[in-house]
Structure formats: structure tokens, C-alpha cells
Symmetry: C2
Subunit: 141 residues, 2 copies
């Protein structure tokens, strides 16, 4: 079951420059920068209270988000993330309904250790959608 | 001042088909469909509790979102929207900081009569960002 909107994710070519821009121009500050080796991204979050903005840059040349930057050199919106009560159950049900869950439907972990999965854009109106398991707080991560 | 994340907006080629898909596959239902003649879109919202998903289709051939569909025929994420306490003040401050507010910085109205403005993607990390004035409820519209 979908429980809320967790975050909007932006891929940027230069994470440090992006954080300076958001702070100086919009008064928005981010948390600690972490690296997700599995997904090949260096990332952080701007907490807006009810939800977050996720910021990512490639942590290695073969990062999946490096391809996104080839198409969008200045950065752009990469995906958004819905909170769900149970990622494994949700992906199983979606798979049974014909939805393609990326990575062969395998549940992954984000930098906070939360269970996540991604739905193929063709199965969500052209939008890449992350599902994140977060029972207690929709606005977290 | 930015007060929260209001919504993520998806442009689709067929709004009725999109709503059927979200309902049947994800159990998500939308509110009433409205037309914003000024922006040339037929639109509705899926309320996720803490924030919303906005769905739009062109209401006329020269709609600005028709160009988006030429580049993304199956639809995709078009922009996201931040809640602000005062659109006029925020756009004035951003303009003074060198940010391009679309439509010559003029405040517009959305289908709920709320005051909105759009920031050029080059001034928000490549993302088209809407600002929406909504003092009492960050998750509304």
C-alpha cells in the first residue's frame, strides 16, 4: 500500500555546487553526504518537512546516473519516490499485475538501510518511480 | 520562504487512461478533473496525504505541455512544486538574486485560485520548479 510521497530526486553534475546554490539562493540546506556504492551515487537530502529533495551525483564513471547526465548535462529530475508499507509485498503484487520492477524485482537497500525498489517508467505514466519502505514516517528519506 | 513539497507533476498523453491505470494497478484515485485555460492543461490530483501527484494532459494543440509530449510521447515527470508562504515576495527576492521567474515574473493562478510562479530549470539544478502559495496546508494542491 502506498503511504505517501517520500522525495523528488534530482541528478546534478556537481553535488557541492548544487548544495551551495540551494543554500545561497533558496535558503535550503542538506544533510550529510553519503555514498551508495551499489547504485553508484554520492547523495544527500534536503528535508522540506513533509517530504524531501534527494540530490545525487555519479560516484563512479559507470554509474547509472552518469547516463542520465549525458542526456541532461546540467542535471534534472531523475525520479520520485513513494512510501509504501511493505516493499516486498508491494513489488510482488505489482509484478503479478504485470508491472516491471527493476533489478528483476529484487528489493535493494538505500543509504539509510531502508528497503527500496524501482518501477519501470513505462508502468508509471513515463515516470521512474522508487518505492521505499517506511512504516513510521512518510517524510523520512 | 519555502514551506514544503506540494506535488510532483506528470504530463500524460491520455488523462483518462492514466487515471484508470493508477486506480487499477496502484489503488490510487484522483479528484475532479479541471481545466486551466491559461496554461492549456486538463488536470487533476492524486492526494497521497502529505503531498500530491498532479496529472496533466494538453487541453489545446498549442498547450505548452504538448511540446513536452513531443519529446516524451508516453509522458513523464514535468516539474515539481514547492509550497511557499508568499509567492510575490519569494519571486521578487529570487529575481533580485538573479533567478529567472517565468512569464516575466508575473504571479499566476492555479485551478484552485492559489498564487503560483515557475522558476526556470537552469536556476534550480535543471528542474522546472513551481512555487505555490499555500499558508495553511503544505499538502494542498
Amino acid at each position: 500500500m502506498i503511504t505517501g510521497l517520500s522525495h523528488v530526486s534530482i541528478v546534478v553534475p556537481d553535488l557541492a555546487a548544487a548544495l551551495r546554490k540551494l543554500e545561497a539562493t533558496y535558503g535550503l540546506s542538506a544533510g550529510a553526504i553519503k555514498v551508495n556504492e551499489e547504485q553508484g551515487v554520492r547523495m544527500t537530502y534536503v528535508d522540506l518537512g513533509n517530504a524531501k529533495i534527494e540530490l545525487m551525483e555519479p560516484s563512479r564513471p559507470d554509474s547509472p546516473v552518469a547516463k542520465f547526465l549525458e542526456r541532461n548535462p546540467k542535471g534534472g529530475i531523475h525520479h520520485f519516490c513513494l512510501g509504501v508499507d511493505d516493499v516486498a509485498q508491494t513489488t510482488q503484487e505489482l509484478g503479478a499485475a504485470g508491472v516491471q520492477v527493476l533489478g528483476e524485482g529484487r528489493v535493494q537497500l538505500n543509504v539509510h538501510g531502508e528497503r527500496i525498489a524501482f518501477v519501470h517508467p513505462r508502468d508509471f505514466l513515463g515516470a521512474l518511480v522508487e518505492l521505499e519502505e517506511n512504516n513510521q514516517d512518510n517524510s523520512h528519506g
